[in-house]
Structure formats: structure tokens, C-alpha cells
């Protein structure tokens, strides 16, 4: 069976195994380090809500990232935020991938009228910039963290549908699908147990990218006052809270949380680009 499922195009993971992959290594190391600090860190550093020093202390040996307008330690808040930000990013991406891939494989495998309807719906979803769609949905269904994850996920479903559908369209013509059908599998079983596992690769790449977009979108929404609110320790909320201090000179209040967002999203991009075989 495995011999039959191997696609005609060279498998990217295998052909690229021999070259050096510095970007992938960098991305994995950064995400790994964040996970470790995110799990252990909150037991080590100060309470994110504690006002432990004078307000607006610049970065120093004692407070590496300085303190904010309430005298809270910014490094401690950044470390406490890791769990929430990564959990949000991953859950949004997984939710969008599960729904999008399921719709995509059915649409691609069945084709015909079903496919036409699904593709029109996807066009409509894609007529909104994802950020605006998430914003409108969140306001309509009510502002809470689970709703935030759902709204962001719905806004990211369309690319998953397209990617998995495109791959299923070519997969369904292959011999193993015919073999499954003649051995008595129904369309549901053929689509999900046979076509889907062989069409999911592009969606896995998209997963890492969507994880990053979601962290960026959470930050953007926080600045508009929806999604996650102060005093929650979350990177986007911290950038939003620090925005007004930028003009008065306390650059560190927004700089460090924003830097962590950029590093995390860049690491996810590095992993995704490498998996996509976009390398040199």
C-alpha cells in the first residue's frame, strides 16, 4: 500500500534530508526554548500582576525588560504570557485545519455540485480579509477567549479547504483509491481513511503559518479592545498597553512583548517554509 501511495513528485522531506537546514533547526530551537521557558518559567519569575517596583524603570540587571506603568516586571509578564499565546495559536490552527481539511477532502473527492457549492462558499469567506472577518464574528457572538479562538479559526478555514481539495483532486485518480473502492469502502471511508491522509501534507505547512497569523491577529484585536483584555498577561495586550508610552519615551513597555511575538512568528515561518520545501 505504501508503495502505491507514494506520489509521483519527489517527497520533499526525503530529498531535502541530506542538505543542511539551518532555518528549520533555528525555528525548532526557538519554539522548543519557548515551550520550556513557558512550562517552567511561571514557577520561577514574579507574579505577573504584582507591582514589585517603581513604574517605568528602564531595562536593568534587576529588571531585564524594565517595568510598566504599574511597576510590574515586563519580563515576568512576558514569560507568563507564553502559555496563553502558544495555546491560542495552536488551538486556532488545529481547529481551522480539522474543519478545513474535512470540508476540502469531501469537496475534492466528491467533486461535481458539492464541489461547486463549497468553492463558492470559500470565495465568499475569502472576500473578507481574515482579520476583519474575525473582528466582526467576535463582536457578533460575544467577546470571550473561546469565541476569540473560534472566530480566528473560521477566518482561516478557507486556505485549508483549498489546499486539501486541490491535493484530493489529483489523489482520487490514483490506483489505491480505486482499490479501496472495489474492496467495498464507501465514499466517506474512502475520502477520510484513504484520500485525506495522502492529501494533508500542504495543510500541515499551512498549520505552522496560521499558528503565527493567529498570534499576530490576537495582538491586533487586543489593540482594538476586543479579544483578550488587560490586565491579562498576553503579548498583544502588553504591546497595546505600551503603545501610548512609545511617544513619551518608555519604548521598552511595548518593545519587548512585540519582539517576542516577532521571534515566535518568525520561528513558525522558518519551520513552515522548510516543510514546504521552499528552501534553496
Amino acid at each position: 500500500m505504501t508503495a502505491l501511495t507514494t506520489p509521483a513528485a519527489p517527497d520533499t522531506l526525503r530529498t531535502t534530508a541530506r542538505r543542511r537546514r539551518p532555518f528549520l533547526v533555528l525555528g525548532v530551537v526557538v519554539i522548543g526554548a519557548l515551550l520550556i521557558v513557558g512550562i517552567i518559567g511561571p514557577f520561577v519569575v514574579a507574579d505577573p500582576a504584582a507591582r514589585i517596583a517603581a513604574p517605568f524603570l528602564p531595562p536593568s540587571a534587576e529588571h531585564w525588560f524594565g517595568t510598566d506603568s504599574y511597576g510590574r516586571d515586563i519580563l515576568a509578564r512576558c514569560i507568563h504570557a507564553i502559555r496563553l499565546d502558544l495555546a491560542l495559536g495552536v488551538s486556532v490552527a488545529l481547529l481551522a485545519m480539522v474543519i478545513g481539511s474535512a470540508v476540502g477532502v469531501v469537496s475534492g473527492y466528491l467533486g461535481g455540485k458539492v464541489d461547486d457549492v463549497v468553492m463558492r462558499l470559500v470565495d465568499i469567506l475569502m472576500a473578507f480579509p481574515g482579520f476583519i472577518l474575525a473582528m466582526i464574528l467576535l463582536v457578533s457572538v460575544g467577546d470571550s477567549i473561546p469565541n476569540l479562538a473560534i472566530a480566528l479559526a473560521i477566518a482561516q478555514i478557507a486556505p485549508f479547504v483549498r489546499l486539501v481539495r486541490a491535493k484530493s483532486l489529483s489523489e482520487r485518480e490514483l490506483d489505491y483509491v480505486a482499490a479501496a473502492r472495489v474492496s467495498g469502502a464507501g465514499w466517506l471511508r474512502t475520502a477520510f481513511a484513504h484520500v485525506l491522509p495522502n492529501s494533508i501534507r500542504p495543510a500541515a505547512v499551512q498549520l505552522t503559518l496560521v499558528c503565527g497569523y493567529s498570534i499576530l491577529n490576537v495582538a491586533g484585536l487586543a489593540y482594538l479592545g476586543v479579544g483578550i483584555h488587560p490586565p491579562t498577561a498576553e503579548w498583544g495586550v502588553m504591546v497595546a498597553e505600551g503603545a501610548s508610552n512609545m511617544l513619551t519615551g518608555q519604548w521598552w513597555t511595548a518593545f519587548f512583548p512585540g519582539l517576542l511575538i516577532a521571534i515566535t512568528v518568525a520561528a513558525l515561518h522558518f519551520i513552515g517554509d522548510d516543510l514546504a520545501g521552499d528552501g534553496a
Binding site: D123, I124, A127, F131, I132, I136, V141, G225, F270
Partner: protein
């Protein structure tokens, strides 16, 4: 070409109708009550009921939908709860500011992304390629808010090169006579060069904030599209016939790559429109995104609904234009082949 055009037009029309339905339903499924939200916490139930009747909220959903559609056909998008003015007026009066900002962002994205993408493709695997790709990843990893703050801090607070985030013109400078509503263009048309200069300076930082992020997407797409043409049959044929290398690059490869690049530009414009709410708030830019932000704060769903609709329609219209340009660039489409 005519058949292709009609087909794309029909698809765009269906998408617009779907968009209207989605926007209408999303706002109607909300658990809150628009009438109660408008009157505030002190309103009595009788007041709320009276307003519900006046707003038509007590009607069945399909009657409401019919009224809404009939209104849209007349150009009536309802009344903004927070200001009492028609939604269409509120939004369309701010459209030029948003277009000026998006155009500035697009210009920067193309000026940066196109040459860097061509460079990266022609020097694939070398240091300059890796540097360009690194730039692309970093550009798409920064939150627009954060990037904007860094630009304000570096180029306004520290260096003093650009005006602060106070909108389209410095306080006290009168806007140019309105012809198009785009200050740079109006200034040029009326010969008011001081306004042209001032508004370009005010536009620089917000446009850079939007453009840097968007340039990453353009760079990636130009690079991969150009690489895809490197080993294509037409490239080999042209080379085998002894066509000069520069002509193969500029005439054959670039023209074929343009199809994918155009799609990317459509997506980039979507990104520019979507990022607008944040950038317009940060730079006090009086565009549609700024209105959407105010509407969020005052729970003005009519206004938000109108905003989503206008952005969606602009987006669909742009993609239709992209399809048209496809037809012009690609004779396979123009001469009646199947649409890709």
C-alpha cells in the same frame, strides 16, 4: 474573451450576493439586541419594544432581509446607531483617506518586493537570496502595531524625520480643494505643492508600516514564480534558439511569472485593507478603518456591517480586475481557453 469576461462577472456577482447574505446573518445571529444596545441600560422595556418596531427588528428574519436588500439596492445601508448619520455617508466620506493609505502601502510593497524577489530568484541559493528570504520572513512576522510603533519611535521621536501620528496633514494646514479626496493628487491638480509635500510626509510612516509587511508577500511570490519559469519549456526553447538572456528574462519569463504575481497583488491589497483598522487608529488616520474602530467601541453593528460589506465588495471588485488583466496578459485565456 467576452465569454471569459461574462463568466468572471457572473462569479463575482454570485460572490457579492453571498457576501451580503453572510454579513446580514452574522449580525442577526448575535445574542444581544440592537435596540437595547442603542438605548442604553436605563431604557424601559416599552422604549425598547417601540424602537424594535421602528427598526423592524420584530419582523420575521426574511422580511428584515427583504428590507435590507431593498435598502441596499437604493444605496441605503441603514443608519449608524452611534452618530445617527446614514452608514453609507459615514463610510464613503472616509473612503478616499483609506484608498490613499492603501495605495501608498501598495507602492512601497511593490517597490521593495518586486526587485528583491527578482534578485533572490536570479541568485538562488546564494547569500543575497538567503538575505532576501530572511527579510521576507521578518517582514511578515512583525505585528503591524509593533512595526508602526517602532517606526514612530525611531523616525519621529528620535530622528524627527517625519511628522508624528496626527493624521493626513499637520494640525493647522488646510486640506486642498477636494476633487478626488486624495490629498496628494488634489494638491497636484490644484498646483498646491506645499500640501502635496506635507501630505506625502504624513503618509510616509503609515504607508511604510503597511507596505513593509506586504512587501514580504510580494517578494515571496515573485521569487517562487520566477524560479518556476527557470526550467520551463518555453525558457529552454528560447535559449536553444539563441534568444539573448536579458530578453528571455524580461520578455518570456517575467511575463509568464506575472500571472501568479498578480494573484499575490490581489491578496496583498486584501491585507492592506485588513491591516488598516490598526494602522489608521495608530496614526489617527481618518479613514474607514478608523470608523470601524469607533463602531467597535460603541457597539454600532450597523456601521460594522456596512464596513465589512464595503471592504468585501472592494475586494471582489479588485479580484475581478485581476481576472481581466489575466485575460490581457495571457492569450490562452483571451482566445477562449478555459479559465484557470
Amino acid at each position: 474573451m467576452v465569454r471569459y469576461l461574462l463568466r468572471r462577472l457572473a462569479i463575482s456577482a454570485i460572490t457579492v450576493v453571498g457576501l451580503v447574505l453572510v454579513v446580514f446573518l452574522v449580525v442577526r445571529i448575535l445574542p444581544g439586541d440592537a435596540a437595547a444596545a442603542r438605548l442604553g441600560p436605563e431604557a424601559t422595556q416599552d422604549d425598547i419594544d417601540a424602537l424594535r418596531t421602528r427598526m423592524g427588528l420584530d419582523q420575521p428574519i426574511w422580511v428584515q432581509l427583504g428590507d435590507y436588500l431593498a435598502g441596499l439596492v437604493r444605496g441605503d445601508m441603514g443608519t449608524a446607531i452611534s452618530t445617527g448619520r446614514p452608514v453609507a455617508d459615514e463610510l464613503l466620506s472616509r473612503l478616499p483617506a483609506t484608498i490613499e493609505l492603501a495605495a501608498g502601502g501598495l507602492l512601497i510593497a511593490l517597490l521593495l518586493g518586486f526587485p528583491l524577489g527578482m534578485l533572490a530568484a536570479s541568485r538562488r541559493g546564494r547569500t543575497s537570496d538567503a538575505a532576501a528570504r530572511l527579510f521576507a520572513v521578518l517582514g511578515s512576522s512583525m505585528a503591524p502595531l509593533w512595526l508602526g510603533l517602532l517606526l514612530i519611535y525611531g523616525l519621529y521621536s528620535l530622528a524627527g524625520l517625519f511628522p508624528g501620528p496626527v493624521g493626513r496633514l499637520p494640525i493647522g494646514t488646510p486640506p486642498p480643494t477636494s476633487i478626488t479626496g486624495l490629498f496628494v493628487l488634489d494638491g497636484l491638480l490644484t498646483g498646491n505643492l506645499d500640501v502635496v509635500w506635507q501630505s506625502m510626509r504624513a503618509l510616509a510612516l503609515p504607508a511604510l508600516t503597511l507596505g513593509l509587511g506586504a512587501s514580504a508577500a510580494v517578494l515571496k511570490m515573485v521569487r517562487s514564480a520566477m524560479i518556476a519559469t527557470e526550467d520551463a519549456g518555453f525558457t529552454r526553447t528560447a535559449r536553444a534558439y539563441g534568444v539573448p538572456a536579458s530578453q528571455v528574462l524580461w520578455r518570456d519569463r517575467l511575463r509568464n511569472a506575472m500571472l501568479q504575481v498578480l494573484t499575490a497583488i490581489g491578496l496583498v491589497i486584501g491585507f492592506l485593507l485588513g491591516g488598516n483598522v490598526i494602522v489608521e487608529r495608530l496614526f489617527s488616520w481618518p479613514g474607514m478603518g478608523r470608523i470601524a474602530y469607533d463602531a467597535l467601541g460603541s457597539n454600532d453593528l450597523e456601521l460594522l456591517q456596512g464596513y465589512a460589506l464595503i471592504v468585501g465588495v472592494i475586494y471582489i471588485a479588485l479580484n475581478f480586475v485581476v481576472d481581466l488583466v489575466y485575460g490581457v496578459i495571457d492569450p490562452r485565456i483571451r482566445l477562449g481557453g478555459r479559465a484557470a
